[in-house]
Symmetry: C2
Subunit: 240 residues, 2 copies
């Protein structure tokens, strides 16, 4: 959250204190299911998770990827039933934040409130960007755009090493996020690999031509307010 707004050491301390209660979940475990009463808020400390929704025909649509540093449903629950489910994708260490604790911080700590609102806004922008992808981009652009997004987010939380980062998503999972079949995702990944743009292999993404990847994706430089380093790939070029 400190990437979103300057937080005093005291604020950071309070947030860390709120995340004391942590648990480790195995891969593919539902943290909460659609229809459940909302439980505690979650903060991903380690590993990957996602929000998803199951359709009557049995298909799945993922609506968000959650990586370390991401929060979900921290704000006091307003409805009495979850609209979607949340599950781990990998083994994950997750903090359970009791309802009310954040509410309390939001009422007493203006800086945390600001950072949290920022966080909310960025999440909304991400949802809208996904809609744009699903509506107006073909499969190659869609995959490329998702990878750009995940790369920028991973970099924001210092999970990248140069143009590489751990991305343990199966092709089925990517398909469930982009509205594609795993078979087609496979062909798209091959296309991107052959054209020398990026390689997703062994649970790691290697971006071999970042400016080309961003170009293919039609990736908005300002998206998530973390710029892709286009001009000089080596330089650290993060947005505020």
């Amino acid at each position: 959250m400190s990437a979103h707004a300057p937080l005093s050491p005291e604020d950071v301390g309070l947030l860390i204190a709120a995340c004391q209660n942590q648990r480790v979940f195995p891969a593919r475990t539902d943290l909460i299911r659609e229809g459940d009463r909302p439980g505690p808020g979650f903060v991903i400390m380690q590993g990957w998770a996602c929000r998803y929704k199951l359709l009557p025909e049995g298909t799945r649509q993922i609506t968000a990827f959650l990586m370390p540093g991401d929060t979900c449903d921290l704000h006091a629950s307003v409805s009495d039933a979850m609209e979607h489910s949340i599950a781990t994708l990998t083994a994950a260490r997750i903090a359970l934040v009791p309802r009310g604790i954040l509410q309390n911080l939001l009422e007493t700590r203006p800086a945390i409130t600001r950072a949290y609102q920022w966080n909310q806004m960025v999440n909304e922008d991400t949802l809208r960007a996904w809609i744009v992808s699903m509506g107006r981009r073909n499969s190659v652009q869609r995959v490329a755009h998702l990878m750009c997004e995940l790369y920028v987010r991973a970099r924001n939380v210092r999970m990248t090493e140069g143009d590489r980062f751990e991305l343990p998503l199966t092709q089925t999972v990517i398909g469930d996020a982009l509205g594609l079949t795993p078979i087609h995702v496979n062909r798209v990944l091959r296309k991107l690999r052959i054209s020398g743009v990026m390689t997703l292999d062994q649970g790691a993404l290697v971006i071999t031509d970042i400016s080309n990847l961003a170009a293919v994706a039609g990736f908005d430089d300002n998206y998530l307010h973390g710029r892709i380093a286009l001009a000089s790939p080596g330089r650290r070029a993060m947005g505020r």
Copy 2:
């Protein structure tokens, strides 16, 4: 907003006061464009508007429809450039809420804060539902689902008369929202008309078989927390 949480007459008065500055915009007018500094907050008083994003190829993706009672960007601006544009679809009367006024209300009026958080949550759920539609529903289901959503929302603000309401969206606009060509939207609408489910004509939607429409759409009864009246169409059956 009072549909979201109980507001005292005083709170309602404060909100009405915040919406004093109103302007009428012609159809197809940008209220704010992508890249602009965020301006005042908007509250739609009359008419229809949308959020949209233009792609490099010139295509457009609408990410939300805004109808009377809807608000946008009321919360204090956190970023310095709009991620998307907002435009009227019809002539519209819109309240311009100065930045800071709502911020002030949120800090002093707990009930308004609650209603606003509710509002935010519902908006997010809507965005996620759109992603699900775009990813996992075919064109007929997509159109049907959108119409269900708009029907429930219109009913929430008392804009329906029985199973009919004014819906001045062109087929191009519907296509831009659902990621379809206007030509295909036309064929889908014909299909729905012939099968006796609904008719969109003359800027008005008539739902002839609501339970069938909801079934085709795979419409979640709990979506937007305003139930579709399935069992007895005449009954008033709104969520809390």
